[in-house]
């Protein structure tokens, strides 16, 4: 028995309140096992990781026992724990970019873990050990990587260095807290392959913490499912996937396997036509007189979006998806080729809901903003028509004919759009940071539709959200699209989401 945890409780005491992160958890793990811990944010999985490493912040109080190699870690002092950390238990964190000291060369940082635990080794021996471990984690030309600084490496390479560092003293247990979340899809699979081979080659038992069931499915044999600080289900991965018992696990699994959308053929009028579009940007010359260097983003793009159609734009990061959408919206001017768009006022639903809403303003004010700036005739008429303002105002006064919407009208339209995105009216008085990720994305959608635009670009609308909430938002988007006959350009790096949403898919390759 490698690890035995019984009745672990963790509470965080902050100035204002006490929060219970882990409310009594027990499980055990055999040597050589790969155990998964899956759960959404706030389920307590990260706190579990920190607790196992005995690296909880000062504000945390914890009870229960963690028996590692038949020795309870809870009562150990800081110095006793130091002997175990990095030697018998090691960790790999989620953000490789920030987990390394930016001012020290990578090789030296990895060497430090050796120096701490074994003072007898000479410099050459240590360096040789590090280079051999770099090769084990499949890092090309380890000699060069040794001398590099963290910011000179790619995300994947940094994570490999972190793994190499963790394995230097051949620990018995490796705790990996969301090791692949911050990486690209293809790099993710490589890292998971690496962890699997390490487990087989060295017999290192691994605990993998992740919010993504697919990652757990790829690597772990057993898993725990955590929800609000408790283990709601545990057992073999296949067995849990076939027939989950707990309600929450069911919803997690169902969110994954949503079916494909039966794509209809659209041959009606084209809303957006993109003809051999070449995007580039010029780099300002350093010295006077030097020629401007031009960097290309994409070449000769051709696609059309018909009215009422959802077209998917898929490709790895850096393939120019966002630049294309900014060009269509008129925010990026450096391109050749043609962009024909019928809708004069295209809108966008942003990915990072945290910064897409003005933190200094209330939701009500944010939603009213597009209406305040509405000037042009045609659109005004359409907005009044589409939102059936007359009957919303209770039918007594006719909609004002003036060049701008009156305050009462604006209020009515905002209340109406809130109903569409299923948000309660009292949210108008709140600030963005008082809302959850999903609620903020609903406000973003409302913001895009309120001005009556019939063409919307959705740039990775759900990738920052938890799985269950992703489903709800995608559902909402589909309904609104059908109801308002919107034409949409849907950008994502996640094939499953695109298949579910789009009628037609445009595949993008990064320029060599």
């Amino acid at each position: 028995m490698l690890l035995q945890v019984n009745d672990l409780k963790v509470e965080y005491h902050t100035k204002t309140k006490i929060s219970y992160a882990v409310k009594g958890v027990s499980f055990s793990m055999e040597k050589g096992d790969i155990l998964g811990i899956v759960g959404e944010s706030g389920s307590g999985k990260s706190t579990m990781g920190l607790a196992l490493m005995m690296q909880l912040p000062q504000t945390a109080k914890f009870t229960g026992s963690v028996i590692f190699k038949d020795r309870d870690l809870v009562p150990l002092t800081f110095d006793e724990l130091r002997k175990i950390k990095g030697c018998e238990i090691s960790t790999v964190f989620q953000e490789p970019m920030t987990s390394l000291n930016p001012l020290v060369r990578v090789g030296k940082q990895v060497e430090e873990i050796l120096k701490i635990h074994d003072k007898t080794l000479t410099k050459e021996v240590r360096k040789d050990k590090v280079l051999r471990m770099f090769r084990n984690v499949e890092l090309q030309n380890p000699e060069e990587v040794y001398r590099k600084y963290p910011h000179e490496l790619s995300g994947g390479m940094q994570q490999r260095v972190m793994i190499a560092m963790a394995l230097m003293n051949h620990p018995d247990l490796l705790i990996a807290d969301e090791p692949t979340t911050a990486l690209d899809a293809d790099v993710q699979t490589q890292i998971l392959e690496l962890l699997k081979s390490i487990n087989e080659r060295y017999g290192t038992s691994i605990i993998l913490i992740s919010h993504d069931l697919r990652v757990i499915q790829k690597l772990c044999r057993k898993t725990l499912v955590m929800y609000q600080g408790l283990i709601v289900e545990q057992g073999d991965v296949e067995q849990i996937f076939e027939h989950p018992e707990h309600e929450y696990t069911k919803s997690l699994i169902s969110a994954l396997t949503k079916g494909e959308k039966e794509s209809e053929e659209y041959d009606n009028e084209a809303m957006l036509q993109v003809r051999d579009l070449t995007l580039f940007y010029d780099i300002k010359p350093e010295k006077l007189g030097q020629k401007k260097t031009r960097k290309y983003i994409c070449r000769d793009m051709n696609f059309t979006v018909h009215e009422g159609e959802i077209v998917g734009l898929v490709g790895p990061s850096g393939s120019g998806k966002s630049s294309i959408s900014r060009a269509i919206l008129g925010l990026h001017k450096d391109y050749t080729g043609e962009i024909l768009l019928k809708e004069p006022n295209p809108q966008m639903i942003f990915q990072d809901s945290a910064s897409s809403l003005n933190p200094g303003r209330k939701i009500g004010w944010i939603l009213e903003e597009p209406l305040r700036n509405l000037r042009d005739e045609k659109q005004l008429k359409r907005v009044r028509l589409v939102s059936r303002v007359k009957e919303l105002l209770g039918g007594e006064e006719p909609p004002s004919e003036g060049a701008r919407l009156s305050r009462k009208e604006r209020r009515a339209i905002v209340r109406d759009i809130l109903k569409h995105v299923e948000l309660p009216e009292e949210f108008l008085g709140r600030y963005p940071d008082e809302l959850s990720g999903g609620q903020k994305q609903r406000v973003n959608i409302a913001l895009a539709l309120i001005a009556g635009s019939r063409f919307v670009i959705a740039d990775e609308p759900v990738s920052a959200l938890d799985v269950t909430i992703q489903g709800q938002i995608l559902e909402l988007l589909l309904n609104l699209q059908r109801e308002l006959n919107l034409s949409m350009l849907f950008i994502s790096h996640d094939k499953a989401v695109v298949d579910r949403m789009c009628d037609k898919v445009v595949q993008l390759e990064p320029l060599k």
């Binding site: 809108q347 910064s355 003005n358 200094g360 000037r375």
Partner: protein, 265 residues
């Protein structure tokens, strides 16, 4: 779990409150007339009748210090406000538009920063004359670069965020974007540096008065009092100490407030 009240803010508010109260009462009442001279009281040491003692003209130092706080408050506050408003507007537009406009503004900023502030004030005051308004103008101009730099960096930070792009999509004009969208998020940073600016203004005004260019006699300024007291250190050390300590307390109060405010959000 004791409620960890924000001590800096409370103490800071108390001190600054007392100082403000003293300055305001000085407008219409002081224990003795601030310019009343009396031969017998020349260099009178601190006593119950004159807690801060008397100066070389037998004038009550406590009354003059109270009036001095008023002058220093008036000068420093208006200097900071002037610098903040002008500096922020320049900083916002430089940050928002970027390009050569930003380059020029930043170059001027570097130049003004390269100058020791007292030196510029000396040049301004010597040709503007050393009246109260001129001091405020001269010092105000010195505070523009620091506020401009802060406003510009706030603008650069906020300009990149997506809510600015979505504001552009909703057809908001440039000025509307700057003042209606970006401004509400930027003023916190600017206000925090206003407190630091206030302290620098207090010390700069005192420095100017010390060099004989500050506020006009007979109304008292703390810096001038210290300058005059410098020659009587042996007979009347209290003449220099009380105004000096007052400046320190005044600055301490505002500094604690700014420290408290930063710790709050």
């Amino acid at each position: 779990m004791k409620k960890n009240r924000n001590y800096s803010l409370i103490i800071g508010l108390v001190i600054t409150g007392i100082m403000l109260a003293l300055a305001l009462t000085a407008l219409f009442w002081t224990p003795y007339s601030t310019t009343g001279m009396s031969l017998t009281l020349k260099f009178a040491p601190p006593s119950w009748a004159h807690p801060f003692g008397c100066d070389n003209y037998g004038r009550d130092i406590l009354s003059r210090v109270m009036q001095g706080i008023g002058t220093t408050f008036l000068v420093s506050a208006s200097t900071v406000i002037f610098g903040m408003i002008v500096g922020s507007v320049i900083g916002f537009f430089a940050g928002y538009f970027g390009g050569w406009f930003d380059e020029v503004i930043m170059r001027i900023n570097d130049v003004l920063n390269a100058f020791p502030s007292i030196l510029l004030a000396l040049v301004f005051v010597s040709f503007l004359g050393s009246g109260l308004m001129n001091i405020i103008l001269a010092l105000g101009i010195l505070f523009i670069p620091s506020f401009a730099r802060i406003a510009r960096s706030e603008m650069l930070r906020l300009k990149g965020l997506q809510f600015v792009q979505s504001a552009r999509l909703s057809k908001a004009g440039t000025c509307r974007i700057i003042f209606a969208h970006i401004m509400p998020n930027a003023y916190i940073g600017i206000l925090a540096s206003a407190a630091v600016g206030f302290n620098n203004a207090v010390i700069a005004e005192a420095g100017l008065s010390f060099l004989g260019l500050g506020v006009q006699p007979p109304n008292a300024s703390l810096g001038r009092m210290i300058d005059e007291a410098g020659s009587f250190l042996m007979q009347a050390p209290w003449y220099a100490i009380f105004p000096g300590v007052t400046i320190i307390i005044l600055v301490l109060g505002v500094a604690l407030i700014s420290d408290g405010v930063n710790r709050m959000d």
